[in-house]
């Protein structure tokens, strides 16, 4: 009998295998955070220990040092293709965006450059519906036009595990295999599977990172959860939003929408 984590896992594996069969060339955005690292683990499950496409980091040079350290260790430990894409500087971003949103937009531009150069047709991204109300409206296979924009007013029909897998030239598709997971599910799975994490998620001196972003636009939240078990216990009762530490989300009512529409993850 499968428990509910097994069911979540099985659905994600199904999505990953669909993506690998239907979309080529394929890559995955690995932010090195808890979600995309759990997703990387799911990829090894789906492909029997192999990672058959490259992991991509959109690097702004602004991650916390622990993140880079963890990245290098995992790459060495697990062994897979890795692309580190340097994002363009903030001065080149749309100057009408609020400052922190502008900083986040660097990743969008880095991704556009990468896709334009390498010709990726599919990009696997570890976003979840419960993170944010815009992401709650996402499809599992979500098409993007050439410049990365998301036509959220006319999303494809998606049901019965049948996905839109064919596209006209110039479009690419974002694939979201853990869209149906919650934050607490990721932690329970990480614990069960013993998946390594960046230690910044665990509380030190009464603070921990609940969501990892660049150091200039992310702040730690107050917490005493110093083990994964304690994080799970904390999440069972918290009323704090997961992205409370992400400053760009709340700069203006629609700042996150503007980011996502133009191609942000």
């Amino acid at each position: 009998m499968q428990d509910y984590l097994d069911e979540l896992e099985s659905q994600s594996i199904y999505t990953l295998r669909e993506a690998y069969n239907r979309i080529k060339p394929l890559g995955m955005l690995w932010s090195i955070g808890k979600d995309s690292t759990a997703l990387l683990w799911l990829i090894r499950k789906a492909f029997f220990g192999h990672v058959p496409f490259p992991m991509i980091q959109l690097d702004t040079g602004m991650e916390l040092p622990e993140v880079y350290e963890f990245r290098d260790w995992i790459i060495k430990e697990w062994g897979f293709d890795f692309i580190c894409e340097q994002c363009p500087p903030e001065e080149e971003m749309d100057q009408t965006l609020p400052p922190n949103t502008r900083a986040a937009a660097r990743k969008t531009e880095g991704l556009k450059n990468l896709i334009g150069r390498e010709g990726f047709k599919g990009m696997i991204v570890g976003i979840r519906r419960d993170e944010q109300s815009m992401r709650a409206k996402e499809r599992v296979f979500s098409p993007r036009s050439f410049d990365g924009t998301w036509d959220y007013k006319d999303q494809p029909a998606e049901f019965w595990d049948q996905y839109k897998t064919e596209f006209p030239e110039g479009t690419h598709v974002r694939i979201h295999p853990i869209l149906h997971w919650r934050e607490i599910d990721i932690w329970r799975y990480t614990l069960r599977e013993n998946i390594p994490i960046v230690p910044l998620y665990l509380a030190r001196d009464g603070k921990r990172y609940r969501s990892l972003g660049e150091k200039n636009i992310t702040v730690p939240v107050e917490s005493n959860a110093s083990t994964i078990e304690e994080i799970i216990a904390e999440l069972e009762t918290t009323k704090q939003s997961e992205r409370a530490g992400r400053t760009m989300d709340s700069e203006t009512e629609d700042s996150f929408e503007r980011l996502r529409r133009s191609g942000y993850m």
Binding site: Y14, A157, F159, P168, Q240
Partner: protein
């Protein structure tokens, strides 16, 4: 890697997906907002943030702003796309799926509702059942949702009237009843003031049933179909190293190591050596519905994406024709004769819309015969494919009994499959023996033709019952015989009593009947006879098999007469019986007839007299059987037997 431990919290029950549907403005979003608020599911500051947004925009407080995340949705106060949001009841975690009520966004409504285990149909107590109430209810039925709760909203606007509640309940239940849905509960609520949602209402003492939150805890997620026959659609075949792994998700049933599996439609067999999962402690003996697994096999048989693995005894049906109850989301209408791509589990195939059997008006459930299906309409359609498809009727297996339709790049429709009145081709496809070797005749066809003055042939008459096949065949036989030709008619009377005495009238038996006739006709043609057959033979696939059996000199004659004419003639009184429901699956009435696409000859008996038709067919035959009959070959030298060394 440390040994895995199941955490206490992982014992949490599987989530329940509940979709909220109903007519636009009947209060779906308000209901969801209320449910979340009353169960304390809001994140800190969310309620205040919503209030602030409303104040800034100078609009009254709207719960829907919680779910309508897009600026465009808030600007127009209309839900465009479906969303999912979590909350907890006493018993479990639930995912509430908000589905847009606007007709224009039916595509998004389906995309949300298809994930649900249960549905709440919201009906405005004041307005009653409206267009989208019905359309959504009908879609729930097509999506196979059995757990339906009706929430009668805005009771405050009808002064909490029990009478009005009963009236609208009756209206709603009557409609649902007609499409085969029985609501588990009908609950009167006021979403705006939170009555009968998380707490009972003091204004409706007459209501004896449960409040919504309690009722939700009586529902359960749709369990995996472990009890059904095994279906494992192949998703991919991996060769990352020397091992070949067949990857896929078990959609129903259970597979065990050591099982012999048959892969459809190729019918190749192999035995499961191992069930594979990465990082799994120990060998896996068995896996069941819902599990994504890998298989290794004992034989290197050819297996590809789209094949369906099953046990031999309970294999899926094989067919190149099926009926589907569809909902159409395409911007362009679906039309008879057009080709589409379908996806059936992991298989993709090209199909032709053979016929649009009925278009269903969800408003009054009336059925119309039309040659196209417009956006957001529901219809019953017959599809035909070139290749064999492995599938199940929806009622027997949900996952293998439904397909989506693709046009260009988009999913434009979905349908649930029915095989009523259509045969399973598996039984006859693979019944052939392997140990038969052809023995060459010493006599050639030319020699026979030369003696008879004509070649043999199969003249296959097909058409509706009452079209005049037997009448024509007997007259043609007579004409040919009087011209000194070798000829014989095979028809139901001389075949059913002997050759096919063991066959009944199920779709499979009918197909087998036609197969035997085709084979016998081919033998008789080889023996030099002009063999006429007079069978309805409604399916193209069956006639194609007869043509294949004959090899050459097979002529398909379409004896055409419209249904009305045939029914008027009704020489055997069969139509009358069929109309009275006494003959199930009667061609033209309750079972389809596929006219030949390119018949060798078409004779219309509705517009031409018998003599004219006989003459047409006879001339057609004479032109073909005489052409290469050369009298010089009337005797033939038997080649000397080869001396053995």
């Amino acid at each position: 890697m440390a040994k895995k431990e199941k955490t206490e919290s992982a014992q949490e029950l599987a989530k329940l997906g509940v979709v909220i549907v109903g007519h636009v403005d009947h209060g779906k979003s308000t209901l969801i907002g209320r449910l979340l608020y009353d169960t304390g599911s809001f994140m800190e500051g969310k309620y205040e943030e919503l209030k602030e947004v409303c104040e800034r925009r100078n609009v009254p407080f709207e719960w829907s702003f919680l779910l309508d995340a897009f600026q465009a949705e808030r600007d127009q106060a209309v839900t465009i796309d479906t969303t999912q949001i979590w909350f907890k009841t006493k018993a479990r975690s639930c995912v509430i799926i908000d589905a847009p009520g606007h007709r224009e966004f039916l595509k998004n409504m389906v995309s949300g509702a298809a994930f649900a285990d249960a549905a709440i149909l919201v009906v405005d107590a004041k307005e009653g059942v409206r267009e989208q109430t019905k359309r959504h209810a009908y879609l729930l039925h097509l999506l196979g949702l059995k757990q339906v709760i009706v929430v009668m909203n805005k009771m405050d606007l009808v002064s909490y009237s029990e009478e009005r509640f009963n009236e609208v309940s009756a209206e709603t239940e009557a409609y649902l009843g007609e499409i085969g849905l029985t609501p588990l509960h009908v609950i009167p609520v006021s979403a705006r003031s939170g009555e009968n949602i998380a707490a009972p209402s003091e204004n409706m003492p007459w209501y004896m049933g449960g409040i919504l939150l309690d009722v939700l805890d009586t529902l359960s997620p749709i369990p995996p179909a472990t009890e059904r026959p095994l279906r494992l659609p192949v998703q991919d075949v991996y060769r990352f190293d020397e091992t070949r792994i067949i990857a896929g998700r078990i959609e129903s049933g259970v597979v065990k190591a050591g099982d012999t599996l048959v892969f459809s439609p190729s019918n190749r067999q192999a035995t499961v050596v191992s069930i594979e999962k990465w990082n799994s402690p120990g060998k896996i003996a068995a896996a069941g519905a819902g599990e994504s697994i890998g298989l290794t096999l004992d034989q290197p048989i050819y297996v590809a994406r789209g094949d369906v693995a099953s046990h031999e005894k309970q294999a899926p049906m094989l067919t190149n024709i099926f009926r589907a109850n569809i909902f159409w989301l395409g911007k362009k209408p679906l039309k008879a004769g057009l080709n589409y791509k379908i996806k059936l589990a992991t298989h993709e195939a090209t199909v032709t819309v053979q016929s649009i059997d009925r278009v269903i008006n969800t408003d009054d459930l009336s059925r119309a015969e039309r040659d196209s299906v417009q956006t957001n309409e529901m219809a019953e359609v017959t599809f035909r494919s070139r290749e064999l498809l492995a599938l199940d009727p929806y009622l027997e297996n949900v996952k293998l009994g439904r397909c989506v339709v693709i046009e260009n790049y988009d999913i434009v429709g979905g349908g649930i499959i029915s095989m009523e009145g259509l045969p399973d081709l598996r039984q006859t496809m693979y019944a052939k023996q392997d140990n038969i070797y052809a023995v060459d005749h010493l006599l050639t066809g030319d020699a026979r033709a030369a003696r008879n003055g004509h070649t043999g042939a199969v003249v296959w008459l097909t058409g509706l019952s009452g079209a005049g096949k037997s009448t024509l065949a007997m007259r043609i036989e007579n004409v040919l015989f009087n011209r000194g030709m070798q000829t014989y008619v095979l028809d139901g009377d001389n075949v059913r009593t002997g050759l096919c005495a063991d066959l009944g009238f199920t779709p499979e038996a009918r197909m087998e009947n036609i197969r035997r006739v085709g084979e016998v006709a081919a033998l008789m043609s080889n023996a030099g006879l002009i063999t006429l057959t007079a069978f309805i033979s409604p399916f193209q696939a069956d006639r194609r098999k007869a043509r294949d059996a004959a090899g050459t000199r097979f002529y398909e004659i379409y004896v055409k007469a419209d249904l009305e004419t045939c029914e008027k003639r009704d020489p055997k009184g069969l139509y009358k019986k069929a109309r009275a429901g006494k003959i199930p699956e009667f061609t033209g009435i309750s079972s389809p007839y596929e006219p030949p696409e390119n018949p060798d000859l078409e004779v219309d008996t509705a517009t031409h007299g018998v003599d004219a038709c006989v003459e047409m067919v006879v001339n057609f035959i004479l032109d073909r059987v005489r052409a290469d009959a050369n009298p010089a070959n009337a005797t033939q030298q038997i080649p000397p037997a080869k001396a053995k060394a």
